[in-house]
Subunit: 254 residues, 2 copies
């Protein structure tokens, strides 16, 4: 029989790729024009990579699952809670951590409405929502990450890293996370996990297109989404134009 003490064991980390959109609640929204995809990062307070930005995460503890570890670390480090978290993959290259043998269980997590103020926790200056921009050109995924102060954190073209200020192999984890996000949005309506309970159809479009890279007219987008939506009696507060009806996700969808 295998005896645990007889064998070498790695340290196991759980890291979360957390996406969100910086829109205020749709029901109480003003004339917000720009809705941008954001990625949650924390500033490392310890060596190695002290001072560098990294994914929120930490080490698995006895008695918890890796999901619980990811959510616990996310909460501890950023004060953010995620209603939706899914396994991404395990990163286990033997040299990925200078401290030694550490494998990382990576998760994809989403927050409904990103209130930027929710970033707090042990050290408020130690977490931020970075701007996330992705483009696909001839089969290559280009990702750019920018800190709130404008510092470019990552410029990645395919697997080539033009510039990368992130700790460990987190750039690769982020790329994998975004690929999965796109896939889930396209095939499994994951876009709704990024939206508040009630939303106007036009609130869906910017997020949807930023993630999928697709572009449609607002009319056709409406028609595509209509079968997945449940009409409500509510309307958003008007800007300088007609008010929009609010919808919720129709249940009974995969």
């Amino acid at each position: 029989m295998y005896r645990i003490e007889d064998y070498d064991r790695p340290s196991v980390a759980a890291d979360a790729v957390v996406f969100g959109f910086d829109t205020a609640d749709a029901a109480s929204r003003g004339g917000l024009k720009q809705r941008k995809l954001k990625l949650l990062l924390v500033k490392r307070g310890e060596e190695p990579f002290r001072g560098a930005w990294s994914l929120p995460g930490g080490f698995l503890q006895r008695g918890e699952t890796v999901e619980q570890a990811a959510l616990r670390e996310l909460s501890e480090e950023t004060g953010v809670s995620s209603p939706k978290i899914m396994h991404l993959r395990v990163f286990s290259a033997p040299d990925r951590d200078p401290r030694g043998w550490v494998i990382s269980c990576a998760f994809l997590a989403l927050t409904k409405t990103v209130a930027l103020s929710t970033v707090s926790g042990s050290d408020a200056a130690a977490a931020c929502w970075a701007d996330f921009v992705a483009e696909e050109s001839n089969g290559c995924l280009n990702i750019r990450l920018t800190a709130p102060d404008g510092t470019p954190l990552l410029d990645r073209y395919g697997d080539a890293e033009i510039s990368n200020l992130l700790a460990f192999d987190h750039a690769a984890i982020i790329a994998e996370g975004f690929r999965r996000l796109r896939d889930e949005v396209i095939h499994h309506d994951m876009i709704f996990d990024l939206m508040p309970e009630l939303f106007a159809i036009s609130d869906l479009q910017q997020p949807y297109e930023a993630i999928t890279g697709m572009h449609t007219s607002s009319q056709n987008f409406r028609k595509k989404m209509a079968p997945k939506l449940q009409e409500t009696e509510f309307f958003n507060e008007a800007a300088a134009h007609r008010t929009a009806r609010l919808y919720r996700r129709k249940d009974g969808l995969s």
Copy 2:
């Protein structure tokens, strides 16, 4: 700084859910009618669960990635090699292994053509291709696994296990593996990874429908697949009917 020695660490296993189809090579095929989806299992030679069937897998060793560990164990235990292997998820419930704290990185793997004779390795009687049948009814996935001698190994309806002779939480891992397989076949043409290099269109249909649960006429199935196929100059050897042209997967597909 985090020092590895200061903290508790789990043992890490890599387990593979390996699917295959029991069709002989299409180019030298006889009048084979039944093509069935199979799952690769090994018989445990040690405690715990000695004598029970389980997924091929084993413990991660220092210096290798979890993918390498999965492929190494697969080869050692069954002699099977897999051209396609992908991360599924991590199973880490604290009580999932009676030996102690063991988490499992689960993989989905496919073999192109299953020559049933390839099951060998350290102990030939210790591995088998079990019959795998899945049905979806009102949102619930029903899975049944049967050993080659007819013994029912698993009957699972949704998350309810009617009967389960498998070791550990491998029944849940298998269910997750099949869900992912179906998803990849539907959205990303993974069906081709289960096929030999050359195949007739009709060879695709049974596997495709067994996995997706969809049903179409052979004519419409042909039309759906045509844009993904590259015609070749070869034909299969005839049975008691017209010979079929062989195709290969058209490249440049996701």
